[in-house]
Amino acid sequence: MITLYDFELSGNCYKLRLLMSILKLRCDIIPVDFYPGRQHKADWFLRLNPFGQLPVLKDDELILSDSGAILAYLAKTYDETGLWFPDDPAVTSEVLRWHAVADDITSTASAARLALGFFYDFDIEKAQKGAHRIFRLMDEHLWFGEKMGRDWLCSPAHPTTADIACFPYVMLSEEGGIGRQDYPALRRWTDRVRRIPGFVVMSGIFPAGRALEQA
């Protein structure tokens, strides 16, 4: 039985809800009042995750934290196709590279969002600048990817947990005052992610239109 300690408005929690929905996994959700209740710093929560961060996932007796690590765990355990976190060492390292980028996006784009929407004391301008720097790199990577016939962040011809890890805080960037107008390839990629079968929404992340069927 999988249990997710979840905050509805957290992009990191949403990553797990998204992958579980795509993999058709059921889970129990335990809401944690991250804001304004700061329950992730409460004693009972720190006993689950001493780092005091959401999300936390329990699979029977196993307790896991860090969204990137949990994505890898879920994919390796429950994805029979083996596509979401491929076994090939070269691809694995590529995926992990982008999990690290996802963390950079969290510390910039998500920080700006926390500062603007949740009144956290972060340097907003620095966070926004940092996010733009990453988005530029992603846009370039994705533009050249399109030229080479690649639709996703990593080289396989299908999405991986890397796409899921990077997606939410890109989509939520406007809430941190970070526009995406300068990143057309990045915007097209978000359309593709939103068309993955099993895609679910969260507040601030809406569905894309149906793709045109190729006759």
Partner: protein, 566 residues
Amino acid sequence: MTLSLSDPTWYPIASSEDLPFRHVYQGQLLGRELAVWRADDGNVNVWENRCLHRGVRLSIGINEGGELKCQYHGWRYANRSAGCTYIPAHPADAPARRIENRTYPVREAYGLIWSAANDDQPFRPFAGAEGYDWFPLRPMPVNAAPEDVLAAIARLAPDDQPADILPGLAIRFGGTYYFVQPVDASRAVIRGLLSTQPDLATLRSNNETLSKLRDRLERLAARKPAPTPLQPAFDKVSADLATMPDIAIPRGNTITVVVKRKWTSADGVIGFELAARDGHLPTFQPGAHIDVHLPNGMTRQYSLTNGPGELMSYIIGVKQESASKGGSKVLVETVREGDLLSISEPRNNFPLRRDAVRSVLIAGGIGITPLLSMARFLDKSSLPYELHYFTRAGEQVAFRGDLEALHGKVILHTGLPRAQIGTTIATTLGQWSFAQHVYVCGPAAMLETVRDTAAAQGWPEESIHYEYFKNDKVIDDSSAFDVELARSAMTLHIPSGKTILEVMREAGLTVPSSCEQGACGTCLTRVMEGEVDHQDVYLNKSEKVSNSCMMTCVSRAKSARLVLDI
């Protein structure tokens, strides 16, 4: 050089490949934000990036192929015209085409999408544009003043081959053109065009050069005082374009169209494609019809079969009745391809709800036309529907190809005996449950069957939608009475044998009408006092009982006097 909001120059605002189908691109030119999208027919739309409802960005809307839907409140705008086709909360479900978003001129050429702040100048190709297979480089957004960006690009030119500065913030050296898109006073996008198809290494090295240029420009710009951003006043769309229409719109405006194609769509059904002479035709809603003014002076209503956003031509189906007097016969027999016809703007008496959990469309014979349009809308929006089409024989199935292209449930019922039609309709409808709607169009007998069956199976009146084109009833015009026109301060006597409409016209009033047999709803009028003798087929039972409105073309009075809101 200072940038001006009204600069009429055409600038590139996107690459063609920035606009894959079903995507909405976010652009900006001279301070104005743009929502740019390619419809399924290939047409590129450049619109102001605001939904007219609450100003939400349309670049986060949903491109449905023929319409763009606002993500937040569901307002929809049609391909080409940007006319609003749907307002969820509007009682009639069907806004007039007057509600239109602001559009900007657009041209797709040389791998780029071009636009301008206004229509003052025609699009002109840049010098040397023709004859090459252009390749657009990766666009490079730069946070620096457009003129500084242009000057810096010029310095990239090799010494022995100075740059050619061209009009419209453009530069050429060697086989490469660079266009600077003025996004705002302190922002620009460099759009390079190569005259040959490059390999990946060339693309990488170009990208590297431009990235370095950008970094340098941005460092410089950071040290200078930032120029004041352009301040586009969100000039409100003119009241004329943005106001909510009255329920009954007096018409008069006609549009001239060309008969582009005339063909036999099925045994007894002739298809007509009526094309705009230039530009596009007005926005319409599914279920809408047009009045066609026939060469013999008659007017007839025909439903549009088009799908969402198809505004280059209207397609109608006309029943070829050998016994028919006038009307359709003239159209079928004398109108040929290439002829001009005069039509009205589309009007909708048969609005489609898009919040239903189940929509059942039932067509009999030529009644397929409005339902085909509805099915196409539902299909494009991935809403569940079923279309039941009753014909006497298989050869009578009109628009067969179009029906086959639909993804919903399309069921053809051919050659059923009358009794079986009734039971089929009964099982098709089933018991009513919340948010189910049925739409029916066909012969009067079929309409009655659907209405009665639905009512018997618990369908409330508001969930049964139908449209009559003809009133088969014999109108009893033997009564005589007075009408008082409240607004015109006039009392008229209506003798037997004359309609209220006729007497009002004789008295010099201009009043709208179309079918003049109580079927189309054009002459709908509010009743303030008196008891109406309705004889139309337009109003439903409760509307008739309410005694609050009537059709002046056929209705009469049961009381000695009627007071009308005219």
